[in-house]
Every structure is written in C-alpha cells, then in structure tokens.
Amino acid sequence: MAVPQTRSMGLPLINLLRLKGAPILQQLHLEERLLRTSYDNWCIINDGTTKRTVVMGVSGKAEELLEIDSVLRDEIPVIRRFTGGTVIVDQGTIFVTFVCNKDAFPDLQSYPQPIMSWSSLIYKKVFQGIGDFSLRENDYVLGNRKFGGNAQSITKTRWVHHTSFLWDYEVSNMGYLKLPKRAPDYRQARDHLDFICRMKDHIPRSNFIERTIDAVGSHFVLRSVDPEASQSPLSSKFEPSSRLLKREELEEAIFNSRSRGACAASASQAS
C-alpha cells in the first residue's frame, strides 16, 4: 500500500469535491467506492440532489420506516444505503461527506462517538455567531430542532461520516416517513414538523457551503478535485452495496407487515 503524501504543515491533506445536483445513488456509490478503494482523505459536498428520494439505512425495515402505500403511489424511489438512518432528500438537501483514513488524526479514536464529536467541531465553527449549534446524540441541532442527520461506516483502516442537511424541505415530503420506533431521547415523541427546522431560516445557502469549506480548511489542507477526475474507476472490480429497491420488494414489505398484523389480531382474538 503506497503511503500518500498526507501531511503538509502538520495537517492532513484532503481532496475537496464539489458537486451540485448529483443523484443521491450516484453520490452513495462514489462514497462507498472512495471508502473501500481510495487511500486519500475526501470531503464531498453535494449541493442538492436531483429528484426527491427516500434513503433507508442498511438494516432498515421499510414497513416500519415508510408509508409504503404513498411511496408506491407517488413512485418515490427508495434507496438502501451502506450506512444507517432514514431520510427523505431532494433539491433542498445539502450533503457533506468525509471519507478519511484512521491515521489522518492519530489522536482520534475511530469509533462512532469520537468521530461524531470531531465532526461537530467543524460545524460549530460554521455556526459560530449564527445559531445555537450543538450535537445531540447523532443529530446536529439548532436549539432543540434537528437540521442535520448523520451516519457513518467504519472499516479496518478508514471511515465515512456523512451528513444530510435540511437546507429546506417540503412539508408534504415528511408525510412519506413514519415516526421511527427508535428515536433519540431529545425528540420526546415530537412529530416531524415540530422536531426539524430549516437551515435557510438561519444562513444563506452559499454562505453555509463556503463557511463549511473554510472550517474544513482549519483541520486539513484542502485540494480541489475535478468531479470528472473522481468519476474514473479507481478499481473496476468494486461493487457498491447501496441500491435502489425494486417495486416488488416494497410491495412484499407491505404484505409482510399486513400478514404480521393479521396474525397478531387473530392471536389476540383467540386468547
């Protein structure tokens, strides 16, 4: 394994890739490919995605997380990604992803919580003087309202930490998501609309992106990378695991949940 020139002036080098409107599946494939086949550190910023899409976690159960009937009726694509968490994304979502080597920061333990805390340092800088930013459990909040959700994947030598920021959202879109069974404590059973907030009410869009890049620059030496350059396959044998779910799979999920419900109902009737 070639050791790249990772340190300059004591800071690790990071490749900065700026995308705009890239489809979320394409972004997830890119992230996974960089995680598993690259030796560099990467920061990917995707300013909005093309089409509204539901993104589900690696082990998420569609029947528990989504209103599948509405999703199928309105033909919303559903993607299962290689990290956890569920989110509905569209043009109003800004994505920021870090793909790093474990030894980029020798003092940083490569476990979920330490990486989460490290990332919050960056955004604390972004929101300094702008909002009451903090990290609560796995979410970025302003006050007590979530505006950014995080997920990670940690491998033997590298990790990915990606965030979906709610720059803006459609109220109707939230109707496709159910109230999750496992919710953070601070949510306190609040409905989606009482739980989340729009970043656009606090900071202009381009401002957020520029400030984020500046904040990243205080932890890394930035090197801008052309989007075309990153598209070329670093390793043609790599198969990403994030995928679009088929219609049949979602229909099967509804069927399973209904039959489970029917069993439960008949069981309670029998007893």
Binding site: E75, G84, P112, E137, A151, I154, L244, L245, K246, E248
Partner: protein, 523 residues
C-alpha cells in the same frame, strides 16, 4: 487503534497489596497500631489479623477507628488485569477463545449484526475483518485480534449483540500471542511439549516470530495462491519481512511461473537448457490443439441449419436505408430519467418495435406468409415481432406477440423476459413459434449493417446496425452531428417488390425520426 491488555499474573507483593486496599491516605504508623490495640475489644482482632494478612491473602479485615467492631471485608483475587476496550477471556494460547463484540467505543451498549465475512472452519489472520455490525447510524467492521481458526459462530445476521457479548469462538494459533506478557509465555512454553516450532538452533535469517516468516496477510494469501510455502522464503523487507516481490522471485526461480520473454543474450547455459525443456513441454501442449475436432450440431444450431437451408430457396432482395435517431436517443433518455423501477431498463429496441408495428399496419404485406404450393399469401393479423438473440447456446428468435396491442413499456418488459429465458435456454415452444416478421439488432454487437436471411415462413427481415454519430450537412452547407443507424430489409421477392418495401421503410423511418407521431395513433 489497538489497546493492549496488561496482565499481571505474579503473586501480589504485600506492599503492593497493602497500598491498594488501605483506604486511608497514609499507611498506619506503629503508633496507630499500638493505639488500636489499646482500644475496644472489637479491635483486638487486629493483632491477630496481622499474621493472617500474610498468610491468607484472600480476605482482609479493614480497621476503622470510629466504627467499633465494624469491619469491611474486601475480597479480591490473586490475579489482576487491567482491561482496555478489548476484553478478553482466559489465556488463548492454542486454545479456544471467546471473541467478544468490542471496537465500538464508549457510549454504545449493543449492535445489530449485519453480516459475517467468515464462517466456521475459516482460517483468519490478525486484523482480518470478521463481521459488520450496526449501532444507531454507524456500520462498523469488527476485525480479528488474533490469527486462528473460527470454531463456532454464535450469532446470525439480524441478531442484537450486547457489547462484550461473545460473537464467535476461535482456536487461536500458538504463535499469535505476541501481546501476552513474556514471563507467562515462557512459563507455559516450557511445559508445552507440542511446541515443535520453538527451535532455538534455527538458522539466523529467520526472524524472531516463532514458527513463521514475518509477512502481511495479503502476501501470505498471494503465496498460498501460487502454491509457495512462505516458510521457505527469505524476506527482503524490513526486519526480514517477506514481501510480494520475494514470493514472485521465488516462484519464478522454482519454475512455478512460466517466463514470458525469451531473452537468450545474457542467460547461462543451464538456464537455457531449462527454458528449452519448458518450451518442449509447452509445444506438446499446443500440438494437441492442432488436431481436428468434430462437433455434432444440436439444439439451436441444428434448427439454424434447417431454417437457413429453407431460406436459401427464397429469392432475397435487400433494401438499405439510413435513419436519423436523434429523437430516439432523446426519447430513451427521457424514459430512463423518469424511470423509478430498477427492474426496467429502457433501450432503443422497444420504440423501434412499436414503430415497426405502426408501419406494418399500413403495409400489412410485410407481415405475411407465403405458401409456395398453393401460390397464396396470408396476411397475418397479429404483429408477432421476432427478435433475434445471440445466446451462449446459439441463435434463437423468440417473438413478442400482438405488438399492436402492447404499450412501449409492456414491450420493454416482455423483451426483458424473453431475453432472460433465452440466455437460460428456457424459452417455450410458444415463445419461438408464430412469428410474423423478424428484427435483428446486430448493431448491439457491432457492424454497420448486414444482409439478413429471412426466417421462413416469413417474408421479410430487418437488420439494424449500430447507432453512430456522424457528420451531416444541412441546407446551408454547415456540418452538424447526427445519430444515424443503417437498416437493411431483406425481403422475399416473390411476394414483395422494391417499391412496397421502400414505402414501408419510409413510414417506419418517419415514426422513428418523429416519435411524437406515434401519439396520433394512441387509443
């Protein structure tokens, strides 16, 4: 980050132990002892306990002056270990060890097991990923601390495992115990008569790793693939590490890898001889391939012999034309963009098929059947458009029934269904009979256009070449790019004449170049 386990197995010295258990900030002075003795009767035990302290290390009664008769009894074992985030069971040397869920950091109590990377019986290397777990929003790869063999897997994907709970049991290799404290290692080694690897008189170059050459798991795997015993190698890396180059050089020397270049200039006589021997071996292998090989024709190939023999009787003529596919390319892109079903992949063929059917409605003579004996032509009602498919088993032409009644999406799905069946050699006889006209998309493989042979008893066949972007001239003499495809229509000249085929082709071409016209016929 690997956290070390510090294990203290030595019996605790008295002073060490005394410091650990005495709660007061200062150790008791002789005066304090004397005072204690003078105090209430309940404290008399202290004088007696003193010898006990030395004899019985297991319990110790603590003296506290303000609580008469009170005593705290602290139990502790003779063995103490400080654990870091990697909790371990008993000494794993050569035995079965419980590998717990760890490497998750603080604040995580349990994880869901997502998938295993190993199974029972697998040999694993140090740091090799064992499984992937998920906690909240993070997926984490759990790697092995040891080199050994998986003896029992205790959970299945979907199980919730608590941090610290055993994930699997492993039989650890003897020489994987580099983290153990050296004194324990030596103590046990002396008693273990099975350690044949411990050979003190071993030759110098081999590194200190008992019984094994130093190398990474990747290099070991590579050596294994080549059939090279890594123990035989002399490492050229740091600290005598065996590198991939060492394996390659060794393999080449041992003749495991055939030398591809024949450079006779600087080779010694011996090497030349060796190479010569290898060449004769190679020649004999190749020699066998120059013999004749007889292949009996079966299945699709046999059917092809039959149909082509019949086709040879038909007087064919071929009509060639070019079609501008710019609109078609745009249409396909539009279908694909709005496609939310990953089971459906939009290609050009369904649009070509549907527009062909539209043109056939106007020129039904191309969708007919010629009966030579009765000298009559049957104009077929349904447009059963056959699609020539190249499969590993040969050429086969299943057809899509009644295309005039199908939508483009339905055609796409049906085409996909037939393609899958064809490649699996599972087409039914109904799928391959009843065709009325055939489309051969040879362009999918290559070629500009072909001169196809008619699929008897049909009267026409259409070969489509590859869509190519070529320069065209407009009215003002300016060059512009256009996606052009060449088509070649083979027709039975006993039934069709050039004019009919030309007009039919013009009609078809119109629908391809202006697909919006298809909407005029939408019901």
């Amino acid at each position: 980050m690997i956290c070390r386990r510090i294990c203290r197995r030595n019996p605790w010295s008295f002073s060490h132990w005394w410091r650990s258990v005495y709660p007061a900030t200062t150790p008791p002075s002789a005066a304090a002892w004397a005072d204690a003795r003078r105090a209430s009767s309940g404290l008399g035990f202290l004088a007696r306990a003193q010898p006990n302290i030395f004899v019985n290390r297991r319990t110790f009664s603590l003296f506290q002056s303000h609580h008469e008769g009170d005593s705290l009894s602290i139990q502790f074992g003779t063995r103490g270990c400080n654990f870091t985030t990697h909790a371990l069971g008993d000494s794993p040397i050569g035995g079965v060890v419980d590998v717990p869920l760890a490497q998750t950091g603080e604040g995580i109590a349990e994880c869901e097991l997502l998938k295993w990377f190993v199974q029972e019986g697998d040999q694993v290397e140090e740091f090799q990923p064992l499984c992937e777990v998920q906690s909240d929003k993070a997926t984490i790869e759990i790697t092995s601390r040891y080199r050994g063999k998986v003896s029992k897997v205790l959970h299945i994907p979907g199980d919730i495992v608590k941090v610290g709970e055993t994930l699997l049991k492993m039989v650890v290799d003897e020489n994987a115990v580099s983290d153990q404290c050296s004194e324990t290692l030596e103590v046990i080694k002396v008693h273990d008569s099975n350690t044949s690897e411990v050979d003190v008189t071993d030759s110098g170059p081999k590194k200190a790793k008992i019984g094994g050459a130093l190398s990474t798991p990747a290099v070991r795997n590579f050596a294994k693939q080549l059939g090279v015993n890594i123990e035989d190698l002399h490492g050229s890396g740091k600290e005598g590490r065996v590198l991939k180059e060492d394996v390659l050089n060794y393999a080449a020397r041992e003749g495991i890898l055939k030398e591809s270049s024949v450079s006779s200039d600087d080779s010694s006589a011996d090497e030349y001889l060796e190479r010569d021997q290898k060449l004769t071996e190679v020649a004999s292998t190749y020699g066998r391939e120059y013999d004749d090989r007889t292949v009996p024709l079966r299945g699709f190939q046999r059917a092809m012999v039959k149909s082509m023999t019949l086709a040879a009787k038909i007087p064919h003529f071929h009509y060639v034309d070019e079609i501008n596919c710019d609109a078609l390319v745009q249409l396909k892109a539009s279908f694909q963009d709005e496609n939310s079903d990953p089971g459906v992949k939009h290609t050009f063929l369904p649009v070509l098929i549907k527009s062909l059917s539209m043109a056939l409605s106007k020129y039904p003579l191309l969708n007919s059947c010629f009966n030579e004996e009765l000298q009559e032509v049957t104009l077929k009602g349904p447009h059963n458009i056959g699609i020539a498919m190249a499969t590993p088993h040969g050429l086969v032409v299943p057809n899509i029934k009644k295309v005039q009644c199908l939508s483009i999406l339905e055609i796409t799905k049906e085409l996909s269904r037939l393609q899958q069946l064809a490649s699996a050699n599972k087409l039914s006889s109904d799928d391959i009979t009843g065709g009325t006209i055939t489309l051969s998309n040879i362009g999918a493989i290559g070629g500009k256009f072909g001169s196809p042979l008619i699929n008897v008893p049909e009267v026409s066949i259409i070969a489509i070449g590859r869509i190519q972007k070529i320069p065209q001239f407009d009215e003002d003499g300016n060059v512009y790019p256009a996606s052009i495809v060449t088509v070649n229509i083979g027709a039975d000249h006993r039934v069709l004449d050039g004019a009919t085929v030309a007009m039919f082709c013009n009609e078809w071409k119109l629908f391809i170049e202006k697909p919006e016209l298809l909407m005029l016929h939408m019901k």
